[in-house]
Symmetry: C2
Subunit: 360 residues, 2 copies
């Protein structure tokens, strides 16, 4: 175990996992392998024999997870099952336990946590891990190898509880984190997944409704295959994902609509000024191309120290002239710089790698 | 060799190749392997030693290709080199020789062919073959394994010359064809490649200009990687490709802009009517998903006979009540039904496989 983050409980953390699917099952096995005590519940006991053989304690009732007073109780059920699980947990949660989750949208989960009055003990989490399979049978601790988690807060999140979740991820799972607010998470997820799913579907729709669709499809190669792959995934799941993040997706769809319409106008004009602007359009993404080239070249990650000053909630110490700087602002600024935190050296200091710095 | 399409020349075709890059070099080797006599020219003689070892005759001057009076002379140079090559060929082309090419836009090549007065002997062609490499060193006859070619015509194309190119591709190369007009080709290419390249770049631009770009990139997974892959390719090449097909790309960008803006409006509204329309949006591409599922399942290709009636240029015989049906209409209709012609059984009849039938 790494740095002792919670001096009143020097022993390894006890983690409860609600839901032994691909993500929850892999997490339970990973934590067990790395010496944590894991208690788990699943809506059906089917995976219990295999889970017990892997050293995971299994219980029949989700409320028993809370009654065991773990350091963290992680909700790993599908999003739609969370309200029901939260209703069963609410009456029996001990104030010691931090409630976390692995859901792919953070605003909606926090709203559901608030609805049962558990928001004081909640810290959001979302691991960038998964594959095309599902269920405990597909679980694999190596799913979390070198994975990044987004850990999310709101204005009421306790720094103490945040540290407990950071300890679980960095020391327990052995992964990296960025710490951001729920809305920043959901806007970023809209950008790199939810909105592009709509764009991919719109491309597939355009082809499907074209009279020469069979001719176009006959000429299609890698570009088309790549850009419509996610349009082939279960449209009901995609629709649910888009509707859960509707405002962010809508705003980005407007942006994209404007970008495409303005390129159309430039191509129709075709005069020298327009062609210069077409050239600019293709140059905008240059920092992104450079970043991807560095990534492909396997450039060493630079290591940096991040001062968080979490113990000064008002943040007057360490504040810049431009204003206050609480731990929230400092961690969000670190994430915006492309830093991924790998561990904490004390309560107020993190070590991070610069992994994704995109300058434009 | 297959069916004898040109009874006045019963021997195997003689093919001239201008340009021994990846596409031209692979084509020359493929035809040589399959028993055709191939004469080739390249703007630099660097590949000649290897080409000669592969049985390809190499000449120092592009005009010598025309003077050899081949059955087909195929332009395999980059698009921008074509005007110059065509100027050198024009004074020495024999009326026997059919001029063809492998360019990825067809309207522009035909305009350049017209500019030197060679349109009477021209038939367009575009093989769906290639990879990320270039040059003769990367050439490989298997690039043409089971490939599809678009063969293109305009209102002046001779059926006799079309048959010579069909023979070269189906019997000489051993590939499949669809026969369509230039504009249908360029609209289809805009749909599955040129326009999506702009969309991919617009996505990369949106991320690059977002203040939280590093956070978004940190959360990115397969969806984002797939949808921005072509934005990473040489932006100057992409820009040239888009500008060569500007009108078609612009029209499709308007369509896409409208699709994205209307989805944005539905997500912002969020009432029951809007959500029903969101559901419809995700259902439109269902025929495309079904087609891709059949493709993955490896469903057997149905074989059909296509009556072309090329010898009745006016098409009154075999015309439907709705109007005339020349060989142009019949071949275009076949391509629209998703049929890929594999060979001809006589001058007026083709055998095709149904490969891409997308019904909506």
């Amino acid at each position: 175990m790494g740095v002792n983050m919670t001096p009143e409980r020097p022993e390894a953390q006890v983690i409860a996992i609600a839901g032994l699917g691909l993500i929850g099952g892999s997490l339970a096995r990973r934590l067990t392998e790395r010496g944590r005590r894991v208690i788990a519940w699943n809506h059906r006991p089917a995976p219990y024999d295999r889970a017990r053989a892997a050293g995971i304690e299994c219980v029949d009732d989700v409320a028993e997870l809370a009654r065991a007073v773990p350091d963290v109780l992680v909700l790993c059920t599908p999003l739609k099952a969370m309200p029901d699980v939260l209703r069963q947990l609410a009456p029996v949660m001990d104030p010691h336990t931090v409630l976390a989750d692995v859901g792919s949208v953070k605003g909606q989960v926090r709203d559901e946590v608030k609805a049962v009055g558990l928001d004081d003990c909640y810290v959001g989490a979302h691991p960038m891990a998964g594959n095309e399979f599902s269920g405990y049978a597909a679980s694999d601790p190596s799913l979390y190898d070198d994975a990044l988690w987004a850990v999310t807060f709101d204005e009421r999140t306790s720094y103490e509880r945040l540290l407990v979740v950071v300890d679980m991820i960095c020391e327990g799972v052995g992964d990296r984190i960025i710490v951001i607010d729920d809305d920043t998470h959901d806007r970023a997820a809209a950008m790199i997944s939810h909105m592009p799913h709509v764009v991919s579907t719109a491309l597939a729709n355009e082809l499907t409704e074209m009279p020469e669709r069979n001719i176009a499809q006959a000429l299609a190669a890698g570009c088309w295959r790549d850009m419509t792959r996610v349009a082939l995934t279960d449209p009901d799941r995609t629709r649910a994902m888009v509707e859960e993040d509707a405002a962010n997706v809508a705003r980005l769809l407007h942006h994209m609509g404007e970008r495409l319409e303005s390129m159309a106008a430039l191509l129709e004009s075709g005069d020298d000024t327009a062609l210069a602007q077409v050239r600019e359009f293709f140059a905008v993404a240059h920092p992104y191309r450079e970043y991807k080239a560095r990534e492909r070249a396997g450039v060493e990650h630079e290591s940096v120290t991040v001062r968080i000053d979490g113990d000064d909630e008002n943040g007057t110490a360490g504040a810049t002239e431009s204003g206050r700087s609480t731990w929230r602002d400092r961690l969000l600024a670190s994430a915006r710089r492309g830093e991924h935190i790998t561990h904490m050296t004390d309560r107020n200091t993190a070590i991070a790698e610069i992994r994704t710095a995109l300058v434009s």
